[in-house]
């Protein structure tokens, strides 16, 4: 017999757990859901847009009644559970019916806090919590004119804005001197007040409600200072409290909320709690983002996998008032040992404040320009050391370079503006998909629209769209992002497990870490293959079926299914003999096009796959090896002619480039890796937009790291200056090895450097000579096994013949 799961509460938290259960173990439980409200599950955070007339109830429905039927879930809507018999393991409802359970999930949410002042029970005094409240407000606005909202926090302001949009004359009474004082500092609060006043709202701050006036229906409120304000409706939006009435009544241990451990289990071993009713490590969250994390953990334990733990969430908020851009996260009010960085431009209505603690972002308030909210939030959740970028931090991510994508307010763009240039996805498509298909995460959007799923340069824009459509509770950047849909584990955990647990094959990794799809997918298999190559040089046997086609056949697949190849030209230097060999194969194999590349080499295009080994054989005779132009590998070492020819050259940049290329070629890396060596600061080899750039100067060599000339143009950071060529080699190898061991698969050096911080890299490469040497030695050790020309192997060997010949030819 199936186990019985009873869920009390039919809101977002409870249903998220149920959805996770259905995805992971659809047949494990008989599920019964009790909900107070007579609806399916709807997106409570979007009640404000419904009130404002921007969305309808149908728009915000997440699971309609049909969904419960389709998934064989028994739903008792409009039905209140009033007792849990924890010994007999049954719940009983107000109609006397009893339902037995094996596991019980409390997801009772929260209740609006109603001020216990005289008159609080009058007709027309409501909270702002559910569809009923919204409908009540909409009804009232048709017949009456005056509204008072008590509470100038997020919810209160959204209610006030909605009532005003419905034609009511609204006054907000707030106890504190600053609006949204839990999210905003004084300056931002004042700017917000000003723009809301311009929208027609009235404010009374430092106003304390003494009584609500009226006989049967509310007529107004009276403040402690004697002031009276007329009102036909009073909305109490001073906060929420976890709804723990039922839990308390049956003796489940509660403080502010139902106390749970890191697995979302209450003090009763058969009863879990998630969402706003739960209190975890002293915190009862009132936002939706933590609830998703909690639901994932809870479901993981309900299906007996039991390896996830909830460790609390960092939250951010965004006011859902159209035309007001406001974002806040974390501790923004500073304090002992905290530093503040502030940008204020009152005329253009922009205010940004970041609070730093020990060079890490601890809080952020953005007003007027919230485009970088998601980025700051990610830096905050990742605990990134920002000391290297703090002087430009407030100007936003665009200032770090993102090919002109940043800085724009994406919501201001028309619906037909193209957001994803790779897949041709417009803003309207994305917004529609988020609303219609109930998408909540970047991965959801990628799966449903393809936006941001190719080069990823529009990721920031897509995240902004998500944040704007969903409101502030959108979970911008989970600190622990799983590698792909096949696993819950992020890259770092997988890499650590490979080394610590001595995992030496892809199946071993998948088994140890409970991979959800046998064979993984096209995203995780290449990553795992790389991680194993990096961890076990000489031991791990490269799995060619886990390689992307280009790396499997050592050429670049083109749009018509033919291939291009680029032989290596060491340091960009070539000879007549090499050029003749290229000319000869071009004629012999009717190669359709020959181009000169940006990496100082020559590319041959339009080659049939079956011809590749023969072409490589001919090129090999002239001394050519693979240029790895197809790989997540060392690509080119670009050089200028240097002191050999150039009147400005200070060192032999060409010769040094060749030495570096001889050291590093054939090395596999998390993503492609490009070197350049310039002979003087004129920097003709463009070394400062390369992964590793050497700029020769009269007294030695400047070493630059983390540059990029592609998707996101990024100028390198100066690592250090060294005196000799030997040092250049040692630092190059050590840097490459650190990148190889630490970066996530498909993470270029530029984002990696930004993620771990320049200082951290300097500490391990420049300041710690012993560590540098160890890295360099590990690099050289790996190269012993890597530096085998794959073209030669395939031109000569029988072992790869299958790859290049059809199974059969038939008429």
């Amino acid at each position: 017999m199936k186990e019985r799961l009873v869920v009390i509460g039919n809101g977002m938290a409870g249903m998220k757990v149920v959805e996770e259960l259905l995805a992971q173990a659809p047949d494990m439980y008989d599920i019964t859901v009790f909900g107070d409200e007579p609806y399916g599950n709807y997106n409570r955070i979007l009640l404000s847009p419904v009130l404002a007339g921007e969305k309808t109830i149908d728009d915000i429905m997440l699971n309609d009644i049909a969904w419960y039927n389709e998934n064989n879930i028994t739903l008792h809507s409009g039905c209140k559970v009033d007792y849990i018999d924890r010994l007999a393991k049954t719940v009983s409802t107000n109609d006397g019916a009893k339902t037995p359970y094996d596991r019980l999930l409390l997801a009772t949410g929260s209740k609006p806090f109603i001020l216990p002042v005289p008159g609080h029970e009058l007709k027309g005094v409501i909270g702002f919590r559910d569809i009923y409240d919204v409908e009540n407000m909409l009804e009232t606005s048709k017949a009456f004119k005056k509204a008072v909202v008590i509470g100038g926090g997020l919810l209160g302001l959204e209610a006030a804005n909605g009532l005003a949009l419905n034609g009511m004359d609204v006054t907000v009474v707030h106890l504190m001197d600053t609006l949204m004082e839990r999210q905003l500092d004084f300056t931002a609060g004042a700017m917000l007040r000003k723009s809301l006043e311009e929208k027609g709202l009235n404010f009374i701050t430092e106003g304390s409600t003494e009584a609500i006036l009226g006989e049967d229906r509310v007529t107004g409120i009276k403040l402690k200072d004697g002031q009276e304000i007329e009102a036909d409706i009073v909305v109490m939006a001073i906060g929420i409290k976890p709804n723990i009435e039922l839990a308390q009544k049956v003796g489940i241990y509660c403080e502010r909320g139902v106390v749970v451990d890191d697995t979302m289990l209450t003090y009763d071993p058969n009863i879990y709690a998630v969402g706003e009713c739960a209190q975890h490590r002293g915190i009862a969250y009132g936002l939706v983002a933590p609830l998703f994390d909690q639901a994932r953990v809870c479901a993981n334990h309900l299906v007996h996998k039991a390896y996830l733990a909830y460790r609390g969430s960092v939250t951010s908020t965004k006011l859902k008032v159209t035309g007001v851009d406001l974002f806040s996260a974390g501790n923004f009010s500073g304090g002992e040992g905290r530093e503040e960085i502030v940008l204020k431009d009152a005329n253009s209505g922009v205010y940004k404040k970041l609070v730093l603690n020990d060079n890490k972002i601890e809080g952020a308030v953005l007003y007027g320009d919230t485009g970088d909210g998601a980025w700051y939030f990610q830096l905050m959740r990742d605990g990134t050391d920002v000391s290297d970028i703090r002087n430009t931090l407030l100007f936003g991510q665009a200032h770090l370079g993102d090919a002109g994508h940043g800085g724009s307010n994406v919501m201001a763009l028309p619906n037909d503006a193209e957001i994803c240039g790779c897949n041709g996805v417009c803003k309207g498509d994305i917004v529609d998909a988020i609303s219609a298909k109930k998408l909540f995460t970047l991965d959801d959007v990628r799966a449903h629209t393809k936006a941001s799923s190719s080069c990823g340069s529009c990721t920031g824009l897509v995240e902004q769209l998500l944040a704007n459509v969903l409101g502030g509770d959108y979970s911008a950047a989970p600190a622990e992002k799983p590698m792909c849909g096949c696993t819950h584990y992020p890259h770092d955990v997988v890499r650590t497990a490979i080394v610590d647990q001595n995992l030496k094959t892809i199946p071993a990794v998948m088994k140890y870490l409970d991979w959800e799809n046998a064979d993984g997918c096209a995203s995780c298999r290449p990553a795992l293959n790389y991680y194993l190559i990096c961890a076990w040089p000489g031991e791990y046997e490269d799995d060619s079926q886990s390689r992307f086609i280009n790396e499997r056949v050592h050429g670049n697949i083109q749009r018509d299914g033919t291939y291009s190849i680029i032989p290596r030209m060491w340091g960009g230097v070539t000879t007549a003999k090499e050029l003749r060999a290229i000319a000869d194969v071009t004629d012999k194999f009717n190669i359709r096009e020959v181009t000169v590349t940006g990496g100082q080499r020559i590319a041959l295009f339009g080659i049939e796959k079956k011809d590749l080994p023969a072409i490589w054989a001919d090129l090999g005779k002239a001394g050519f090896v693979s240029g790895h132009a197809y790989g997540k590998a060392l690509r080119t070492v670009k050089t200028c002619v240097g002191s050999t020819w150039c009147r400005f050259g200070t060192q032999d940049s060409t010769g040094l480039g060749i030495k570096i290329e001889e050291l590093t070629w054939a090395s596999w890396t998390p993503h492609k890796f490009k070197f350049a060596v310039s002979g003087c600061p004129r920097n003709c080899a463009e070394a400062t937009i390369k992964d590793f750039g050497v700029v020769c100067v009269d007294s030695g060599y400047e070493l630059h790291i983390g540059g990029n000339g592609g998707v996101k143009v990024r100028v390198t950071d100066l690592l250090c200056k060294v005196d000799t060529e030997e040092e250049v080699m040692e630092f190059s190898g050590a840097f490459m090895q650190l990148y190889r061991e630490e970066a996530w698969y498909l993470e270029r050096t530029a984002p990696w450097v930004e993620r771990v911080g320049l200082s951290s890299i300097k500490a391990r490469i420049v300041d710690d000579a012993e560590n540098r040497l160890a890295l360099f030695e590990r690099f050289q050790h790996g190269q012993k096994f890597a530096q085998i020309d794959p073209w030669k192997e395939r031109a000569e060997g029988e072992s790869h013949k299958q790859e290049f010949t059809p199974l059969m030819e038939t008429a």
Binding site: I549, G561, P806, L807
Partner: protein, 116 residues
């Protein structure tokens, strides 16, 4: 069903890999999964005609090497947000040898596990 031809043995195809059967200008991609199931599909992605035989095979799916469309090899249907279909061909494995019918079966292909 007519037109069955013997195209080679299961072990001629790498595990989680594919080989092609050339048929004039058109190609049929023949895949082998990790449990030695064999599938045959036209070697043309429904999106931009990418050679599916060069894709990464996972489960009974293959990911096109050009733009990452994913197809169910049994039905030929595109998965996820993409919509499209690639013709499938019936295959049978007898004593480790693969037999392919050159008449496209649409979605009726019933793959057989290798028994050799």
């Amino acid at each position: 069903m007519n037109n069955w031809i013997e195209i080679g043995s299961v072990t001629d195809i790498p595990v989680l890999g594919a080989r092609i059967v050339r048929r004039g200008s058109a190609n049929i991609a023949v895949f082998r999964t990790s449990d030695d199931t064999i599938y045959a599909l036209e070697n043309k992605c429904a999106h931009k005609q990418g050679p599916l035989s060069e894709g990464i095979v996972h489960g009974c799916r293959v990911t096109c090497p050009l733009h990452n469309w994913v197809f169910d090899m049994q039905t030929g249907e595109a998965l996820g947000a993409d919509e499209g279909k690639v013709p499938t061909y019936p295959v049978e494995v007898r004593d480790g040898q693969i037999f392919l019918s050159l008449e496209s079966a649409g979605n009726t292909s019933e793959p057989m596990a290798a028994n050799g």
